[in-house]
């Protein structure tokens, strides 16, 4: 159970870092890539997938 929440914390940290990088990117394509990476991370953080 503890491991589940440790992984959840890592997942949320990944979301924060990807959003940070999304706002720092200078290329539209890289922003798009970051946005797509966010989708599964959000679903996992909400325990939907």
């Amino acid at each position: 159970m503890l491991l589940k929440w440790i992984y959840w914390g890592i997942n949320v940290l990944a979301i924060v870092l990807v959003v940070r990088s999304l706002y720092r990117e200078k290329s539209l394509r890289e922003q798009y890539v970051a946005a797509m990476v966010l989708v599964p991370l959000i679903l996992r953080a909400l325990f939907i997938k």
């Binding site: 491991l3 589940k4 992984y7 959003v19 999304l22 706002y23 990117e25 200078k26 290329s27 539209l28 890289e30 922003q31 798009y32 970051a34 946005a35 797509m36 966010l38 989708v39 959000i42 679903l43 909400l46 325990f47 939907i48 997938k49």
Partner: protein, 382 residues
């Protein structure tokens, strides 16, 4: 010559973020629909005489969890043996659980007892493997023109209920090591652990059921890819080999060729292997051929699930790369379900010869030709 123009800004980043959230909402709704399907999806209508119980009646540790599942029991007028039929151990092997549903809706037990669990792993019914692109549901039209819809899931428990899995799964009873994801595979989790992961607890529940109901014959219904050697097969624990051999001969007489495979002793965790090891039960696993779960398949839609027709499989059959005949370039669901139903019927019919006084007689089940020709819908209730 051409200067790269960067038009990215905080505004485009915000637009992208909103876009990602919108995609997450749309796909999230789709995933949630799998967990709480529309009314009527996966519905079963048991034949008169079946009593409904829950697996948690046998193991309280499952009560209120997503793993708890329905158990149906019908007792015949004459005393005899007890058979357990498990469908849906793997929710991406549809002929397994559809055969269990057909038997649940048709079986009329004259002698002995019949226990049917149509959806053994409920937690796998809402799951799909990444990139497998399976449709979420498939269906049949009944005689009366009604549509019966069923979910198409996966081999494994949905990670929503069991996550994360280890890199290496050590099977608790034997110490055998497997890929980490197998921890969520009901067919590797037997005999289960009372305080283990949710799939191990589910397996433990089935062991409790087998012991409490003093099951004589336990059958696990599966499907395999046509390119997999153990397909159109009966895999028998050594204690069930005599019974399986008799039934294999009868199937051949009926024009239903089947392989008879001894269950590998060193592959632990499989339902039938551990049932046979840990209880006084004749345990078997049945496999039919399912192109919709195979690796060669192309477009994966409802038609592939129901007909098994696929160009790549046709080509593979032409190159003699399959372990089934793949006659006519199809592998119809009706034939696969019929194969399971007729095999179960024959196993029950012959049980008396290996367990004195423990015979089981089941009426009302369609024969192989009958079901293959008329289709599954003709044998599902309205």
């Amino acid at each position: 010559m051409f200067e790269k123009r960067n038009i990215a800004s905080v505004y485009t980043a915000t637009a992208m973020l909103i876009f990602a959230i919108a995609i997450a909402i749309i796909s999230g709704r789709s995933y949630l629909e799998m967990r709480t399907p529309a009314a009527g999806v996966d519905r079963v209508m048991p034949h008169v005489g079946f009593e409904q119980k829950k697996l948690s009646d046998y193991f309280a540790g499952l009560e209120g969890t997503a793993a708890d599942t329905d158990v149906y029991i019908q007792e015949g007028a004459e005393p005899g043996g007890t058979a357990l039929i498990l469908g849906g151990t793997h929710a991406n092997e549809p002929a397994g659980f559809i055969a269990a549903v057909v038997m649940l809706e048709r079986a009329d037990v004259r002698r002995g007892r019949l226990i049917i669990v149509p959806y053994a792993n409920m937690m796998a019914r809402s799951n799909t493997f990444p990139q497998d692109a399976h449709p979420q549901t498939f269906g049949f039209t009944t005689k009366g023109g009604n549509k019966r819809i069923f979910r198409y899931g996966s081999r494994l428990t949905n990670p929503v209920y069991e996550w994360p899995n280890p890199d290496i799964y050590i099977h608790p009873a034997s110490g055998q090591t497997m890929a980490g994801m197998e921890r969520s595979n009901l067919n590797r989790a037997h005999p289960g652990v009372a305080d283990g992961g949710i799939t191990e607890r589910l397996a433990y529940g089935f062991m409790q059921l087998i012991e409490a109901e003093q099951v004589d014959l336990a059958i696990d219904l599966h499907e395999a890819s046509p390119e997999y050697p153990v397909v159109e097969a009966m895999v028998a624990h050594e204690n069930a080999m005599e019974l399986a051999a008799m039934v294999a001969m009868e199937l051949e007489f009926e024009g239903v060729p089947i392989r008879l495979e001894p269950s590998p002793k060193n592959l632990r965790g499989l339902n039938h292997r551990e049932w046979g090891e840990n209880a006084d039960v004749l345990a078997l696993l049945l496999e039919t051929s399912n192109p919709s779960a195979g690796r060669f398949r192309g477009r994966t839609d409802e038609a592939l699930i129901l007909t098994g027709a696929d160009k790549a499989y046709e080509k593979a059959a032409g190159l003699n790369r399959l372990y089934v005949s793949y006659e006519g370039g199809t592998e119809p669901m009706a034939e696969r379900v019929a194969r399971h139903v007729v095999t179960v019927k024959l196993l029950a019919d012959n049980l008396e010869y290996v367990r004195d006084g423990k015979g089981i007689a089941i009426d009302g089940l369609p024969g192989f030709r009958e079901l293959s020709e008329r289709g599954v819908g003709a044998y599902l209730s309205e």
